[in-house]
């Protein structure tokens, strides 16, 4: 296996286990690169990448930009605020105008599910989905799985609980697909109002009791409550949510095993997890961030380097 089976990275749904393994082994090499005295390699020096963020992002945008720069790509950034999008330009027009400036790859975040797929059908560039609405966020799932694998050796047979706002989370869907492809068992846990209907059809277990989920799992991925996406009230108060689904040190220590704690960030300290949990030795939140750069370098490298013959 020397190349990805796909031209774009639109979602975990579209890639194979071999693709994931190839991304991981390449990411291990890049992790070594970013720990060198000189952290830059010239691989993508003739590639121009546009980061199109139609929706706010700090971590993902920084991580992609750093990954691109470490690979020596030329980078242009675009954010929807202060652009012609506000003047009514369509997505295809915006992107085609950017591509007319000879851009080879597009990293896009958009509020609409399927925006990346739509773009891949209409423009001639390699597309990486950096989050499309509540649909997928493939690089996040890859870096989560990579980080777990680094700690536990393999995902096979491991139990991963995804806890919190499943309904509004693109991280949840990508994570479920990715972990299952790698052989893990997956459970989702959250309030009934934040649990999508028919989610068990994805082959996941559904649990509404946080303690039971924690006792079951080897790894807990704590999702952020996405208040900005909630047009209506899904739970009475934030305080009540925290009482029911917030993870604190007392609860963590009362488990009869040490589980790994992941969080895709940004953390709402004191809501879904308390500070002492986020900063504990069971938390690998900062490793996730470091691995994020390496995994994104691998994805960019493999897609850009994919020979067409």
């Amino acid at each position: 296996m020397t190349r990805l089976s796909t031209k774009h990275l639109l979602g975990i749904k579209d890639i194979t286990v071999d693709d994931i393994e190839l991304i991981f082994s390449t990411a291990e090499n890049f992790k070594e690169v970013i720990n060198r005295p000189i952290k830059k390699v010239p691989s993508l020096r003739d590639i121009t990448i546009a980061n199109l963020f139609f929706e706010n992002s700090t971590r993902t945008k920084l991580s992609f930009e750093l990954a691109e720069k470490r690979l020596s790509a030329d980078v242009i950034n675009f954010s929807a605020s202060g652009s012609s999008v506000k003047k009514g330009e369509t997505l295809i027009d915006t992107v085609n105008n950017i591509l007319a400036m000879k851009v080879d790859m597009v990293v896009m975040r958009h509020a609409n599910p399927g925006a990346a797929l739509f773009l891949s059908k209409h423009v001639d560039a390699k597309i990486i989905n950096a989050g499309d609405g509540a649909h997928e966020h493939p690089t996040q799932a890859l870096l989560d799985a990579f980080s777990i694998r680094e700690k536990l050796g393999s995902l096979k047979g491991k139990k991963v609980a995804i806890i919190g706002d499943i309904l509004h989370s693109r991280v949840a869907l990508s994570n479920i697909l990715c972990m299952k492809k790698l052989g893990a068992e997956v459970m989702v846990c959250g309030p009934t109002t934040l649990m999508p209907k028919h989610i068990s059809e994805l082959g996941v277990e559904v649990e509404f009791d946080l303690r039971k989920a924690l006792e079951w799992c080897d790894v807990a991925n704590m999702l952020r409550i996405q208040l900005e996406r909630q047009e209506i009230k899904y739970f009475p108060t934030l305080r009540e949510y925290t009482m029911q689904y917030g993870l604190d040190k007392k609860l963590l220590d009362s488990l009869n095993k040490k589980i790994l704690i992941l969080h895709p960030g940004p953390i709402n300290r004191g809501v879904e997890i308390t500070s002492d949990v986020a900063d504990s030795d069971q938390s690998i939140i900062l490793e996730q961030v470091e691995n994020g750069v390496a995994v994104r370098m691998a994805v960019l490298y493999l897609l850009a380097g994919r020979s067409e013959n």
């Binding site: 020397t2 190349r3 090499n29 070594e32 690169v33 010239p42 690979l71 020979s307």
Partner: protein
């Protein structure tokens, strides 16, 4: 025409050559106090590890720094073919060191060019010398020559030199293969 594939070096000859290369290196580097050895991935590392081991035995210096270097991210034929990287494992800085760079076959010189670039991520060496087992004469694309050469051979571009190692192919030997 000689039959293909043809063995151009067998285990005994290889052993003699590696021994000779070590002696030549000692002539320049003496005790290797300020020298480091770097093997190029994927196939140069087997030769480099052998040389490193023999040098440690002959000089008695058990602390000669050794590293594996992968050049994939520095290659110029990226996008012409799919390239899978290997491990780089260099846990020292080469600043002001005398670097002995080792590969199995010197052909177009492009791998070595990439290797020189890749190496610079670990510092600015005092000087760099190249050791190769097989030098395919008259086939260079770049002005790169080895200082220490195991065997020089004349070959045409359609031919291929394959080096087998005990570690990977269960026997030490060098093949000349004709593609037809």
């Amino acid at each position: 025409m000689s039959p293909s594939p043809r063995i151009i070096l067998d285990e005994k000859q290889l052993d003699i050559i590696i021994h000779r290369l070590c002696r030549q290196l000692i002539e320049t580097h003496y005790q290797f106090q300020n020298s480091v050895i770097i093997g190029l991935q994927p196939r140069g590392v087997y030769l480099a590890r052998r040389i490193h081991k023999q040098l440690s035995e002959i000089t008695g210096n058990k602390h000669i720094p050794y590293g594996d270097l992968d050049v994939t991210f520095y290659r110029d034929d990226f996008r012409k073919r799919d390239l899978v990287p290997n491990k780089t494992n260099i846990d020292f800085i080469i600043e002001d060191k005398n670097v002995v760079l080792i590969d199995d076959v010197l052909f177009t010189g492009r791998t070595i060019r990439a290797g020189l670039d890749a190496m610079m991520a670990f510092g600015r060496p005092a000087d760099v010398e190249l050791v190769v087992l097989i030098d395919r004469r008259f086939s260079r694309n770049l002005p790169i020559q080895a200082k220490y050469i195991g065997r020089t051979i004349d070959s045409v571009a359609s031919e291929k030199v394959k080096v087998d190692w005990k570690e990977t192919e269960s026997e030490d030997r060098v093949w000349l293969l004709t593609n037809d």
